[in-house]
Point group: C2
Chain length 363, copies 2
């Protein structure tokens, strides 16, 4: 993002009103290629999570570069992606309720789609919905290897649920899923190893063991052999959190929120027209609400809905009213979700507006 | 919200997929009427802030009930409201840049619109854009009476900027604006009193002194005489933060996010299908990410983008997988901003879907 500055591309950016999401197309391409090359080198299938970008053309490009398919976090995203021609989608979520099961069944008639379960009630729902389907629904068992969100909590429970799936009419046991990646924690690896051993002994070897998360993407090779596929999302754009985690630097950040300085109430304070409705309140443990490449010492101290208050006390330079700044967000995924359209900046300086087609979907 | 439960209106709500925003229309009406009656009783003009609901039919209702006009936080909101017939809009923001000034000029040809400034650069922009306009643009001076966001920081600066506005061709000095309300802080009242005295002595008595914020709405009468108009936003729906501030109780909360329990990984943990892309990460100093009327002891401990993790350790009752729950969000304004449509539940049990017409606007 350091070369995606208001001065470098002033002509192209001048036509954009603020706040606006600007994406460096060349950096996106580099980020996608680097991850695919890494996955290929380590024998991992890459299944990018599209919740970050929510744009079909990027999902298609991810597959074109070698991804085994994509990951979506909800049916609404999968429906948009299926409409755009994505033919292999993993939906790592417990799909609950008649309306959603009907939508899942409709999707399954069009594309290859697999889901997860972490309990028998959800499996019963799948079985009832797919008992009479032409082909079985593939269901993976979600394992809680340390996150404390969804997931079975013991290898014994993983085996029991796999058996329930395998025994259900209309369902096929597809393997194991976890998040985040396991390579940092001995207990997490141990959970997966013991689960796999039990499943194999029971005649249910998992065809897929799926892990994910951009922070651990470039260490996922350590888990090859244990894990068969990896689901990174944020790597497409990167963000301040990923840089803090050591996943590349700010030069790898492909997305910035372009904002205008609208007020300089004191010598050290500036206010921009990007607040929590552009940057979100996500802190992810960081200090401040984003990073300003043009003013690395500045701190985005607080956000109102349409104001970002920046403390320039530690910055030797300070912006003028009217100056336009890029903000690298803390967490890029919910930022993209706030915008109906985003702007791709291409190498020649041209700007291409794209709709965030899969945002705003219900469930 | 306590009577807006999945069991009370099961038939009407059964057709809604989750997550969904459900709004009790009768509570909205009661909230609007109570605030208008309070303002009338205290001789304050009410100018509701529509950033909370972003829906023209509610803005029209607010005016129908007696509001002097509405407040918008950005041009995109004002454009949608003007299209819907709102004819008097206050935009308390520094409007900066040629594109936005052209949009402001276009709005001003259609409706009565006033804006703010807190510095001379912004006033210069207004003057250049409106020097040749048929009628002057009304500009109020934003005062920082303690928030530390925008605003002139001394009464002397308020007077100086008012003089600059009054002297500029095409502009009219309209008065003073501040946020939040001043009645709690002696220093804030003092700032306004001294500013008003200076302005009056200089022959520029402020026609409008505008204050705002739902937390102080029902104490705004204490400022009558000093303040002439009040801009509450959140009062239309209320939320967990307002209840924490003592502005009514949960019974006054008109908006809930309907979610489904998708997982019960442990005895005390449940996971719902509403995460930060439905509830936002806004904490506003509260513990947890929302309130569950049906399970008051439960705590929404963490959010992923599409998961809400709830700790039921302190709750004697726990929900089953598939159960639908209402969540009263911490901060309702950015929640509405995440949804393309919301659902009004009417007294007879009918559901009406409405578009959040002013969401997703640029600047």
């Amino acid at each position: 993002m350091t070369d995606l500055s208001a001065t470098t591309h002033a002509d192209a950016l001048a036509g954009l009103d603020t706040p606006a999401v600007v994406i460096d197309a060349a950096k996106v391409e580099a980020n996608l290629r680097r991850a695919q090359a890494y996955a290929d080198r380590h024998g991992l299938r890459l299944r990018p999570h599209i919740k970050t970008h929510k744009m079909p053309h990027l999902a298609l490009r991810q597959v074109e570069l070698g991804a085994a398919g994509i990951t979506c976090q909800k049916l609404g995203e999968a429906e948009v992606m299926a409409d755009a021609g994505l033919a292999d989608i993993f939906l790592p979520y417990n799909i609950v309720g008649a309306a959603k099961l009907a939508r899942l069944a409709a999707l399954k008639r069009r594309i290859a789609i697999s889901v997860t379960a972490d309990n028998a009630v959800v499996v019963e729902g799948y079985a009832a919905a797919f008992a009479d389907a032409d082909a079985p629904l593939t269901v993976l068992v979600e394992c809680d290897t340390g996150m404390g969100r969804c997931g079975v909590t013991t290898p014994e429970a993983a085996l029991a649920l796999a058996r329930t799936i395998a025994a259900a009419p209309g369902l096929r046991f597809g393997g194991l899923m976890t998040f985040p990646a396991t390579h940092r924690a001995v207990e997490a690896r141990d959970f997966l190893e013991r689960s796999i051993a039990r499943l194999a002994a029971a005649g249910l070897p998992p065809a897929v063991v799926s892990s994910g998360g951009t922070p651990d993407l470039y260490a996922a090779g350590d888990d090859a052999g244990l894990v068969t596929e990896y689901r990174p999302g944020t790597y497409v754009f990167s963000d301040r959190f990923q840089v803090a985690k050591g996943v590349g630097g700010y030069d790898d950040c492909a997305l910035g929120v372009l904002a205008t300085v609208v007020s300089r109430p004191t010598d050290s304070r500036a206010v921009i027209d990007a607040g929590s409705k552009a940057l979100t309140s996500d802190l992810l443990g960081l200090d401040g609400y984003g990073y300003l490449p043009a003013y690395p010492e500045a701190r985005i101290a607080s956000l109102s809905e349409e104001h970002g208050v920046i403390d320039f006390s530690a910055s030797p330079r300070r912006p003028a009213i009217g100056e336009r700044l890029f903000v690298i967000p803390n967490h890029v995924c919910p930022v993209v979700n706030l915008f109906d359209t985003v702007h791709f900046l291409h190498a020649g300086g041209s700007i291409e507006e794209r709709r965030v087609a899969a945002r705003g979907r219900v469930g």
